[in-house]
Amino acid sequence: MIVKDLVEKFNFKLLTERDGLEKSVDGVYCCDLLSWVMSHAKNNDAWITVQTHVNVVAVASLLNLSCVIIPESIEVDEDTIAKAKKEGIPILSTDLNAYGIFSKFYEAGMR
């Protein structure tokens, strides 16, 4: 699975540009405590978080996460989107909650 699949098959809305859409998505991780994410998320995880400030991009970039998924259509700070575009980190948005997002991945064969 690649990030582009989340846009084309799951209908997640891409808030950034085309950069990073070819990145592999090998897992999904959900947590809003940044230090916990730093310690536990893995390379190429898609990261679900309700945090929308600019530091989310630093965490995603430092850990080589494949993308950030914002649940429940929470509005994302403009600074965050600008920084994500600069760093090539895709940010996706959906009206689904975290459980709904995980279900999509499960149904798509990620077990």
């Binding site: 809003d32 405590l33 940044l34 310690s39 390379n43 530091n55 970039s61 760093e87």
Partner: protein, 145 residues
């Protein structure tokens, strides 16, 4: 950034400002980029990124400002985080996972989980902290390549 190549390796130095959440993470991102350019092992890069990020965030949240200095040597990466105060009242307590003195406002942003210092210790091979209440805090960390 101060980058000098000589017989002791490469030195990188970054100023980290108090309360500057917008730029927080930039020093660690730059350090990671340099390590990647040098072809350092990806696990070493990841551990260095975690350690320097946590140090950077701690300086932003808890201190009056400080610096992060990294020496990249043939066999190891040395990281030194120094701030100009106000010092940690009880270092033993600060080292416990989950203990934090961060404000509610900071916690709502996902910081202040009480994982910063424990993460630095966990992901480095050597970890040393020196702090006195009312003085500065210095954290020295080493990761062997």
């Amino acid at each position: 950034m101060d980058s000098n190549k000589n017989n002791i390796g490469i030195k990188l130095e970054y100023e980290v400002k108090k309360d500057d959440f917008t730029r927080a993470g930039e020093a660690s991102s730059n350090i990671k980029k340099v390590l990647r350019q040098l072809g350092i092992d990806s696990d070493v890069i990841r551990r260095t990124a975690i350690a320097t990020y946590e140090a950077e965030i701690n300086i932003v949240i808890h201190s009056e400002g400080g610096t992060i200095t990294v020496y990249i040597k043939p066999d190891r990466i040395e990281m030194i985080a120094e701030d100009s105060g106000p010092g940690i009242e009880d270092v033993r307590l600060a080292m416990q996972e989950g203990f934090s003195t961060a404000s509610n406002k900071i916690r709502e942003l996902g910081f202040g989980a009480g994982m910063g210092l424990p993460n630095m210790k966990k992901y480095t091979d050597e970890f040393y902290i020196d702090s006195q209440k009312g003085g500065s805090t210095t954290v020295k960390m080493t990761i062997y390549i």
